[in-house]
Amino acid sequence: MAAQPKAIPAEYPSYLKGDPISWLNTIDHKRVGVLYGVSALFFMMLGGIEALLIRIQLFEPNNTFLSAHVYNQVFTMHGTTMIFLVVMPLLLGFAANFLVPLQIGARDVAFPRLNALSFWIFLSGAVFLHMGWFWHHGGLPDAGWFGYANLTERQYTPGMAIDFWDIGLLILGVSTVMTGLNFFTTIVTMRAPGMTYMRMPMFVWSILVTSILILLAFPPLTVGLIFLFMDRFFGTHYYQAVAGATPILWQHLFWLFGHPEVYIMALPAFGMISEIIPTFSRKPLFGYPMMAYSLILIAFLSYGVWGHHMFATGMGPVADATFAITSMLIAIPTGIKIFSWIATVWGGSLKMTTAFYFALGFIVEFTIGGLSGIMHAAVPIDLQQTDSYFVVAHFHYVLFGGVMFAILGAFYYWWPKVTGRMLSEKLGKVQFWLTVIGFNGTFFPMHFLGTWGMPRRIYTYGSGMGWTFWNQFETVSAFILGFAFLLMFINMLRSLRDGEIAPADPWDARTLEWSIPSPPPAFNFVTVPSVSGRDAFWARKYGTGSHGAAAVASAGDPPNGEAEAIHMPEPSFFPIVLAAGLLLCGLGVVVAWWRLIMAGGVILFLSIIGMAFQYPTFGQHTHETEAASGGGGEDLRKVGLWAFIGSESVFFATLIATFMVYKSRSMGGPGADVLEIPLTSFSTFILLMSSLLMVLALAATQRGDKTWQRVWLAGTVLFGLIFLGDQAYEFTSLYHHGLGFTTDLFSQCFFTLVGFHGFHVFIGVVWLSVLLVVSFMDRLPKSRALSVELAGLYWHFVDIVWVVIFTLVYLMQKVKGA
């Protein structure tokens, strides 16, 4: 083994050390990662058992092992669990959380408390999805993982199960968007000195692109779920044909999220494979720039392919042809990646470890899934496969053969770094071969069954269909697959009990996480490493070509004793309390018990306040800004806010698009005729002027002029309040003119869109009021101008959205009506 970096003295304890309570208030990214990992493993067992139940039920024709009612719940929860509670938390919550800061040479993520909050909210969302179990009339959700409208309407699926599903997914969405925002900001601002974008490890690249995907893809799902919520609770008709609406809106919104979601799961897997293969081929990654660009290209194209899920709905030849072409195009960057991995392996001196086995298995199985994906892009072929078992085969090859193989490879690769113990390679290879046999045996025959007409999501089938043999074959294989996972759990437990102690760099690897002890200390790096090329740790060990090894090697050596000066953020109990409040609140909504909503709301509110004032140095981010020195020089709060605004833009764009589509289909109500242009023109003027006052407030802050800072801030708040007052008046008068929330399609879209904007204005007013209070406390000096700037950015964004709404919703409707 090559030269180890100088060992860090033993007095720095591993991040795992600490009493059990310290896991509840931890904000250490590695611990949050482990929390995610443990929960996801639990849900993996649950989802796996559900999968086996499905296979037992389909073992023979006319089987009654489960009732149809239970079977429908099981397959719905199998899909929902595996995607939202297993794959995403394992990739983003666990792997990205644990590895990204280590790989970019940072001490934590950009917003550590937000990170802990993401986890606890994730957990409460996951619990929420399963709440139906505890009610007599509840039961688990049973509308399929993509919950096609209008089956999910209360009229067709009464009971609480879909409510739990809807709100549970909303909660999970909040958690995921916060995670995406956090990683985006972390990677943009906190890279070690010298680590340019083109020097980042490929896994970091994949997480960067995935974060952008999350920020821009989740809002359509959120909007779709909010519409469903309104339909179920407030009696709107977003997905009901009777009101002129169409259930196909759900399909568009869902797949506009759903297809990028496929890549949210696939890209981190690509990143993991791009780390494992070079390490065990002992060669740098082939075609690094192309690997990075193809990630971006895949992300870009993934927004234009959602229609290939909907060829059977009759979108028309033009839309079908467009989506067919984009779906074929997306195979090109994916092909680049596959060839680059093969080229990396080619000519390398291979070390055949379990992790490498899984990486090679990934290439083969994922390619099979990719090829059946291209088949779906061809519309005539797709029309025979839609909703058949062939589709089930396809996406399991992508998600299991692709993503799960990558996760298993990564599991064997990074386990020593996480736990400080080695896994048994022998057991690992047995697991690999059983997985390959079980996986292909389970899913390959589904191609045949699908081609012969077997639909997905059927409770049972007749004995005359000729489907029996392969179904039995699949069930047996599924149990082999289950056994392979059992071996993994045994391997884990054995390793934790008496596994071999792992060295810092057991694989002779290439990236920075291997330069620190296994398991790492809480602060990761004694000194933040400086980077002068790709594969930073490899270069430190062996030098990079012409450069001497010695010159680079000294750069990262820690001067002893400096760890005392490392300032890590304090732990916080607020994230777990806040998530509990959210859980109570949601529960109260579903069971319609307002006391519970109130209790949850109070907890939620108090913990937000507590969180805001937890750090006495309001607005100062000492540790974070120090650590951020390596990135692009942008302040991380600003980057975070921009990421948030990007996500919000998609949210409003989706609401506006829905309004534009639905307004003309509306029937019955008074429509746009009752809108009052003079009043809203005045509101618009006020809001635009408030933006001007905001600029003045910022300028005054930057000058250090306290008096005018207060005046302009107060002015902005006042104008915001006038706008809100106008809106309240407008809504009341519209109501008196017969335009209620549920009157018709126009009114429900109008009130939803304008109402959500009003809510954003309200949040802005609260934010500015807090700043005003802080200003009167004399704690908003020149040096904290950024706090004002951030509030200003948000405020301007809300104003710009209003200008768009005013034009599209008010002016254009009036012009058309005239």
Binding site: A68, H69, N72, D142, A143, G144, Y148, A149, N150, L151, Y156, T157, Q240, A241, V242, A243, G244, A245, T246, P247, I248, M310, F311, A312, T313, G314, M315, G316, P317, D320, F339, A378, V379, P380, L383, Q384, T386, D387, S388, W452, G453, P455, R456, R457, I458, Y459, T460, Y461, M667, G668
Partner: protein, 164 residues
């Protein structure tokens, strides 16, 4: 090594080119010779305020006249509606060689309309009329399945097309 790489590159380029041309030929063959057509949205069901969707469907032509109608020599029209968890009509008879235009809609939730062994596969959305044409060249008992999960007894939702 460089030379070798170039040779492989050329090899893969040629292979990809062959595949591309092959795909396009298959596409042309299916659309021109086999006359594969896409399911299309041919109309909507407009429910009056207060009216149920089912009522609106049954007063909208052609759903006021369900089942098979002969519209020309070897030309037929088959009008269906789907309701959880059955198709109506439950069984139709057609002669071999019949060119049938299937017109269907749903009166409640989203259903599928898939005739196993053929390329007829449409989604039936409430409020939307879907249409697809197919020629039955071989006699047999064709299974018409609901292909879109539609609730508790989804797996029992089927009908028959008998071609004699």
């Amino acid at each position: 090594m460089n030379h070798e790489a170039e040779r492989y590159e050329r090899f893969f380029l040629i292979i990809s080119g062959v595949f591309l041309v092959g795909f396009l030929l298959v596409l042309a063959y299916t659309s021109v010779h086999m006359r594969v057509m896409l399911p299309g949205r041919v109309g909507t069901i407009e429910a009056n305020p207060g009216e149920s969707l089912a009522a609106a469907v049954f007063r909208t032509p052609p759903f006021n006249h369900l089942g098979v109608t002969k519209v020309g020599p070897d030309e037929y029209q088959a009008v269906y509606f789907a309701q959880a968890w059955a198709f109506f009509p439950r069984e139709i008879d057609l002669p071999v060689g019949a060119r049938v235009k299937f017109i269907a809609t749903s009166v409640d939730v989203t259903h599928g309309f898939f005739i196993a062994g053929t390329r007829v596969n449409m989604m039936l959305l409430p409020g939307q009329i879907s249409e697809e044409t197919y020629t039955f060249r071989k006699p047999g008992k064709y299974l018409l399945l609901c292909h879109e999960y539609c609730g508790l007894l989804h797996h029992t939702m089927h009908a028959w097309v008998i071609v004699k």
